[in-house]
């Protein structure tokens, strides 16, 4: 083992100091803050369970929790299912060059403001909006899409679809071609090939893609607020309400800690599942 010298420390210490100050510190502080109390609009640094008791005893917190998990879960599943055929097409039925260009194009949405895209969906989905205007021409509609869970889901999908599509495409493009060829030679139908070869071989990638979709949707406040009309609110909206309208940072911290623990559990299980070797038969 090399001796720890000044040179090595130069590359290590700044990271440790910086991340402690601006990442670990704030996160630990949020956990601590969930035990503080607010008196006369002032936060008092103590160790009490007031906020925890209060938040955990409220039905609406649990309702919001269940709703948020369900919606983020649906977004992850839907995004995975919808992206799959498209990714399959990109991975197996296009040239490497087309694929490369497609991935470059798919990066574009990351750099258009998500807010602006949501605002744009608002225009499209409104009752007097672009979509209803279009279907109105053939005598359909108008459909109410805004301020419903459909609106929220569309927002979530806008956020996660490019990422899921990219991850799935890369995953499938990296599957050893010989495996697929072998399956085909053995007379597997395309459906069976997907089921017995592609899904198991790309499991890690698919799970990670879905996991990211879940994480992003779980923490997003824009879609449920602007497209879902906060009806009902999700956990991120609850955090904003309690910090921006109330003064109750400790309670917001409770929600934040609940969210972090949930994410940790889900991410941990997903990763365990993704990397678990298939049991040999």
């Amino acid at each position: 083992m090399r001796r720890l010298n000044l040179y090595a420390l130069t590359f290590r210490l700044p990271i440790i100091i910086w991340q402690t100050l601006f990442f670990i510190g704030p996160l630990i502080f949020v956990v601590a803050m969930s035990f503080f109390v607010v008196r006369n609009f002032q936060m008092v640094e103590t160790f009490e369970f007031d906020s925890w008791k209060r938040m955990l005893s409220r039905d609406f917190v649990w309702d919001a929790y269940v709703y948020t998990v369900l919606m983020a879960g649906s977004a992850a599943i839907l995004a995975s299912l919808i992206a799959f055929p498209a990714a399959y097409c990109l991975a197996f039925q296009t040239s490497a060059r087309t694929r490369q260009i497609a991935i470059l194009l798919l990066i574009i949405p990351f750099f258009t403001s998500y807010l602006v895209r949501t605002f744009s969906w608002y225009t499209i989905l409104a009752e007097a909006g672009v979509l209803n205007g279009a279907v109105g021409l053939v005598g359909l509609g108008p459909y109410t899409l805004l301020n419903t869970y459909v609106g929220t889901l569309i927002g979530y999908l806008t956020l996660v679809m490019p990422l899921v599509l990219i991850l799935q495409t890369v995953t499938m493009a990296n599957i050893d071609d010989r495996l697929i060829q072998a399956a085909r030679n053995l007379g597997c139908s395309p459906a069976r090939t997907i089921w017995t070869v592609i899904l198991p071989a790309g499991k890690t990638g698919f799970v990670i893609a879905a996991l990211f979709a879940f994480i992003l949707s779980f923490g997003d406040f824009v879609a449920p607020f602007y497209l879902g009309g906060s009806n009902p609110p999700t956990l991120p909206i609850l955090i904003i309400d309690t910090t921006k309208a109330g003064q109750q940072w400790p309670r917001a911290a409770v929600v934040a800690v609940i969210m972090m623990v949930t994410l940790f559990v889900i991410a941990f299980s997903a990763i365990m599942y993704a990397y678990r070797k298939r049991a040999s038969r």
Binding site: R2, P26, F29, A86, W249
Partner: protein
Amino acid sequence: MTLFLRTWLCLVAGFIFLPIFVSMLFSFNEARFPTLPLTGFTTGWYEAIFSDPDFWRSAKNSLIVSTTTAVIATFLGFCTAYTDYRYSFRGKSLFLAIILLPPTIPLIIIALAMLAWFSRVGMSGQVVSIIAAHTVLTAPFAMAIIRLRLSQIDESLEAAAWNLGASEWRAMREVILPFCKPAILSSLFLTAAVSFDEFTVSWFVSGLNKTLPVHVLEIVQGTIDPQVNAIGTLVFGVSITLVVISQALIFFRLQKAST
């Protein structure tokens, strides 16, 4: 089957690009409340934002934040990547975790954490608070890009330099840094672009020093105004330029490296 898949792919692409397209379209549409049919061509929304001092103020803040963030985040990313490339030590995975974890934590939680923490240490509502937060958010991207580059280096190069009597510092300066230059440049542009677009954390910690995306958020909260589309289109232009430069740098160098 193939036809179905192709159609499906086009539909998904349509879903992804429709809002971007619509936003650009309506940034040139006259009506204040965007509906079909289009009401007429105008550049009025662009004129409106260009004559709005608030827009320029936030653009200036965004510029300061994203450039400073890019420099610091790239430095942090480089240090981490180099440490990961060169050393193995106890607690290395913990060390890597503290820099790689931020993107997996919802922005809203980071935002709350930063707000509370900065108020506690008396650093809230300043441009530096946004910068500090953004460096944490973007450093992992810098790390990833630079680490990728380092994995292409011939490990004997650095060792050869030492054998020729160069100090570690000199080897760093004359071997590692030049080799990583394209990745470093690329990382500068990419982290700047990510920071330029971030609004949740900025919204919480910026106080009066709002950035451009926070300005957009305030417009959306305050009025329904196609200015948002115009700003979005402009910001898109800036971000995409940064990204294209960043990609071109990687691509170009990789090509060169492989020949």
